[in-house]
């Protein structure tokens, strides 16, 4: 289909949903009544969160930010974590591409020291009109987004399942679609090897599986699911494993991929690789082995391969890996080793 035809079809379909609408009076009425409603809402949410919020102390720093310290209790009434919340102003805008180092610098700026680094932090960026946070404990630098956290006035609302020390297991939105657990089990039972490849992993107290999943469209989707012993969290993220252990030995894993926060690693080899201290590592795997892009955080070492370019509105792959797939794998392995070496 020609691009012009495609564009026309899309534009027509978008024009078709257009409708005379008038939300003005409804919206304005809500705005006028907002203060009253908000008071009720906050009270209700305060009740809901009473189980996990034990104290909430507000400290104002130089009028620039508001820092709130919240102790979290589990159902046994034990303090299991501390969260500090920073409300950013427009001069401290964060986005999901910020690196851990940048965030540390940001924290230093707020606190004038590095002491805060060992605390549990959630940075709330309100400039996007939506709460977005980050757990800054040394073993985690995850972004929290979307519906996982709600902020309303002085109340931080965590989903019940995230109460206590479960911050690191907050799910991060992936671009790729996982098959759910039921589907996975069904596929394993059916032994559908063409569409589903499972590699078991066992290293120290980490065990899990990596999956290759060929979607119906023929795209290769990849997922990793891991379990940490005594923490039966089946969908635990691979990246959290990175963050939780200083050195991890991973073997026989073909691909790890995360896209939403640009962390992840792609590796395709039977060799064992020791991975350490990866912060940002974007991989993309697009339909064939000959088109793989790798972007590594500049703080580590900059690599860009497999560039795709847009030419006349079309997506053209202008760079490919060497035709010899074996060579490609070797190069990629070397790249990984080189990157990791810089962190040892």
């Amino acid at each position: 289909m020609k691009t012009e035809t495609f564009n026309n079809l899309i534009n027509e379909s978008i024009e078709a949903v257009e409708k005379e609408v008038d939300y003005t009076s409804d919206v304005m009425k809500q705005i006028k009544n907002r203060k009253h409603d908000k008071a009720k809402r906050v009270f209700k949410k305060a009740l809901m969160t009473a189980a996990i919020l034990i104290s909430c102390t507000t400290i104002v720093y130089a009028g620039v930010i508001t820092l709130q310290k919240i102790e979290l209790k589990n159902s046994e009434d034990e303090v299991v974590g501390t969260v500090e919340i920073v409300e950013t102003d427009e001069n401290h805008h964060l986005d999901s591409h910020i690196s851990r180092e940048e965030l540390f610098r940001y924290g230093d700026k707020l606190h004038g020291s590095h002491e805060w680094e060992n605390k549990s932090f959630i940075v709330i960026d309100t400039t996007i009109g939506y709460p977005m946070g980050m757990d800054l404990r040394p073993n985690s630098n995850h972004f929290f987004e979307y519906s996982e956290i709600e902020i309303d006035g002085d109340i931080l609302i965590l989903p019940e399942q995230l109460g206590g020390y479960q911050f690191s297991s907050i799910s991060i939105h992936y671009d790729i679609e996982y098959p759910d657990e039921e589907t996975v089990n069904a596929m394993i039972e059916e032994n559908d090897e063409d569409r589903f490849i499972v590699n078991e992993i066992e290293t120290g107290d980490i065990r899990g599986m990596s999956y290759h999943y060929n979607s119906i469209e023929g795209d290769l989707s990849m997922a990793i699911q891991l379990e940490i012993e005594d923490e039966p969290n089946f969908f635990r993220m691979f990246t959290s494993m990175f963050e939780s252990y200083e050195v991890i030995t991973v073997s026989d894993i073909d691909v790890f991929l995360t896209e939403s926060n640009y962390m992840g690693v792609s590796y395709r080899s039977n060799k064992t690789v020791r991975l350490k201290g990866i912060n940002h590592f974007e991989t993309s795997w697009f339909e064939s082995d000959h088109n793989m892009s790798v972007n590594v955080d500049p703080d580590l070492k900059s690599w860009n391969k497999g560039i795709e370019e847009e030419i006349d509105g079309e997506y053209i792959e202008t760079t490919t890996y060497p035709e010899n797939t074996k060579e490609q794998v070797i190069n990629f392995t070397e790249l990984l080793h080189e990157v990791f070496k810089t962190n040892e």
Binding site: V27, I31, G129, Y130
Partner: protein, 183 residues
Amino acid sequence: MSHHEIESSINAVKRGNSDAFENIVEMYQRPLYKYIRYIVYNQWDTDDILQDVFIKIYTNIHQYRSNSNFEGWLYKIAYNHTMSVLRKKAKEPFVLVERLPDVAYIDEYKIEMSSEMTTTLSQLNPDERAILFLRVHEELPYKDISKIMKNSESLLRKKYERAKKKFVKIYKEVLQDENRNIQ
């Protein structure tokens, strides 16, 4: 309304004049309605989401930096909130029942759009519809879409190409099915 008038209304709201927000609602309700409805593909959810989006815009308007890209900022809030609502809905146990459209809704939609297109679009996911809207209809560069959808430009290119391929494939299949039925 000119850019200057929009900025004046924004500044007035920032200063506490909530009535000035009415201008902003009037100005942007139609494009935002179109955008949200295209993503959620559902009239009722659109109504709720759009009103919430305007409340979010109002409560966060002091965060908007004057003379920056206001439309982009609106699209970003609308996208975030829409996706959040959809994610929450996906977790609801009775979502399928709730989402079943009634006959009136189907009729209304069919009047506006061909059945082939309705079927095709319904098989794209909300993210794919969002990127088609922003890229094709709004003609935004990937750089701007990247700010709205919080994805890298390279990832968005891929998403767009995948959405396009998927759309074309489904659309052709639907047309073929229609032809078979006619014969």
